[in-house]
């Protein structure tokens, strides 16, 4: 029998979450000061992916919809930035983020109208198919998108031009840009926390648990799913926009559905039943993939084995399993 955590509900729970999150945020802020630049750049990648996975999990964990097309929104964010550089000569990171948000709102609003009518495997296949439309466009319209060569994105200027990337790129990425990503990460986590704990977030969980009953307590299913789809896509689009200066280049690969599979992978790795699951999963996956790719050409095999073993033995992911172990430990002492 499952029992919700004791104690008066969410008011304190949010405060408790803040108390748990604050030391982690401080630790993350210390990383560039104590670890070599490479570590903080790698961690920045992980935090960016965490924002994307957090967005993805609003659909999977909270609304009960498994999207196999979130690479599209990540790609839309990344390409929005790249195209702003190419055609508008923009260098301001803030404008990039605004552009990415606008672009991902437009695409998710459109895709969402089609997708939210379906659930289960049909939702999955439809999101996959639509993301492949964008992928094939990015791939074929090479005079706009650079085709397989992709588009380069130079170092942006941050905070309305207060911080620029003049000087050493490594230093910029591992310090100024790392902190920029960290701030965005904290903002996104806080915002997502509010969303999933808002009345709207409760309505999404109600839809996930029981669509018919949700209708009969007055929740209109499609509009709510559509908004969830929109919010989810915008978070992932934002992640794409933050990722592209870090990577310096965007190629159609990030739009391909196998990248969507990676987003699903990292979320399940961390555990899609918990708020922190996708964050932990994204950071861990990023290390896992980086080392696997560096270690062997057969990194896909390695990750595939990890994934299969994971779903077979740890279906609640890292966070869920850690929570269970902690509960057992506390129960014993």
């Amino acid at each position: 029998m499952s029992v919700a955590p004791p104690g008066p509900r969410p008011a304190v729970s949010s405060a408790r979450a803040l108390r748990m999150a604050a030391p982690i945020a401080v630790a993350l802020a210390l990383v560039p000061l104590v670890l070599p630049p490479y570590s903080s750049i790698l961690l920045a990648y992980g935090l960016v992916m965490a924002i994307g996975a957090l967005g993805f999990n609003l659909l999977l964990g909270y609304t009960g919809l498994l999207s196999f097309g979130h690479s599209a929104y990540f790609g839309v964010g990344a390409y929005a930035v790249a195209l702003m550089v190419k055609y508008l000569k923009v260098t301001s990171m803030e404008l990039f983020l605004v552009g990415a948000i606008v672009a991902s709102i437009m695409i998710t609003a459109l895709f969402g109208v089609v997708c939210v009518r379906y659930t289960t495997i049909f939702f999955g296949i439809l999101t996959l198919a639509l993301s492949q439309v964008l992928w094939s466009l990015a791939f074929k319209f090479f005079w706009v998108t650079g085709g397989t060569d992709g588009l380069r994105v130079p170092t942006p200027s941050l905070f309305g031009g207060l911080v620029t990337g003049a000087g050493d790129k490594i230093t910029f990425m591992s310090h100024a840009y790392y902190y920029y990503v960290l701030i965005m990460f904290c903002l996104c986590v806080a915002l997502m926390w509010v969303i999933v704990n808002s009345p709207f977030g409760m309505a999404l969980q109600a839809i996930r648990d029981n669509e018919t009953r949700a209708r009969f307590v007055g929740v209109r299913i499609w509009p709510y799913r559509w908004v969830a789809f929109l919010v989810s896509g915008v978070f992932t689009g934002l992640a794409g926009a933050l990722w592209v200066p870090l990577n310096g280049l965007t190629t159609p690969d990030i739009m391909h559905w196998t990248f969507s599979g990676e987003i699903v992978f990292m979320t399940v790795l961390g555990g899609f039943r918990s708020f922190a699951g996708p964050i932990v999963g994204a950071v861990v996956f990023n290390y896992l993939k980086t080392y696997a790719v560096g270690y062997t050409v057969y990194w896909q095999l390695l990750l595939g084995v990890v994934l299969v073993a994971l779903v077979l033995s740890l279906p609640t992911g890292i966070v869920g399993t850690a929570g269970r172990l902690l509960a057992r430990f506390q129960g014993r002492s």
Binding site: M1, V3, R9, V194, S198, P199, M202, D209, F216, V217
Partner: protein
């Protein structure tokens, strides 16, 4: 004074009349029992009135307004709520959340995604009160999927009640629980309904429950209304006793 009137309501399932020209009324502040053997059309009638299905013919008038073509959402706003025969809850939310969500929905607050739900203390207070009314307060923080069957049946009714309806349809509120638990459930449900002056229409198979707790009984058979009267009238009605009660008791 009629709260709800259906006029010649018809629903086909393939070749059969699931609901055959039914003129069904519910008065204000009454507890009505809807009886009939399996397949008599009781649940289909409730599904038509609550908006799960669209009728093929006929009209549904609720508080003098035609709601025949209203959405489920519109009917809830108008004041029609229902529970389900097979318990239909949000199993991964707590009992308290199940009720609170319903209140947020009733108050049109669920579109709000930038405020913590916890900050709206009026809603949580009311949710606690409703759980108390149904004797579920001790289970407030348990997941709805983790409480006993009898508690789930009550919670299902509590969720529908939290919509503050004028008319509450309860589809077999005591099915699937032990005989011992039936009376307490019905005591709780009918006392809540009577104390607030709303109407309830209860689909029920157990004749003891039906005769003990209802003001009026409507008997259905093969999609049509067979009889309509007080418990005493129905008890004396030979058509009902031979076609329905006999079959129900041997069920």
């Amino acid at each position: 004074m009629s709260l709800l009137v259906t006029k010649d309501l018809v629903k086909w399932f393939g070749e059969t009349h699931a609901v055959d020209h039914v003129n069904f009324t519910v008065k204000e502040s009454e507890v009505l029992a809807l009886i009939g053997s399996n397949g008599a059309g009781k649940t289909t009638l409730v599904n038509l009135i609550s908006g799960l299905f669209r009728p093929d013919e006929g009209q549904i008038i609720f508080r003098d307004a035609d709601v025949t073509h209203q959405s489920v959402h519109g009917r809830i706003k108008a004041g029609i709520a229902r529970s389900f025969q097979l318990v239909n809850l949000f199993d991964q939310l707590t009992a308290l959340d199940n009720v609170a969500l319903t209140i947020f929905s009733r108050e049109s607050k669920i579109a709000n995604l930038v405020t913590l739900a916890a900050s709206d203390s009026a809603v949580w207070d009311e949710a606690h009160q409703i759980l108390k009314l149904f004797g579920l307060e001790p289970k407030a923080r348990m997941l709805a999927g983790g409480v006993s069957q009898g508690e789930r049946k009550l919670l299902d009714v509590a969720v529908a009640y939290a919509l503050r309806p004028k008319l509450l349809f309860l589809d077999e509120p005591t099915s699937g629980v032990s005989t011992r638990e039936k009376a307490p459930i019905m005591d709780t449900v009918t006392s809540v309904v009577r104390s607030t002056g709303i109407s309830a229409a209860i689909i029920e198979h157990d004749m003891d429950v039906v005769f003990n707790y209802s003001d009026r009984i409507v008997a259905m058979h093969q999609g049509a209304i067979l009889a309509d009267g007080t418990p005493d009238e129905i008890r004396r009605n030979e058509t009902v006793t031979t076609t329905l009660i006999g079959t129900t008791e041997t069920r």
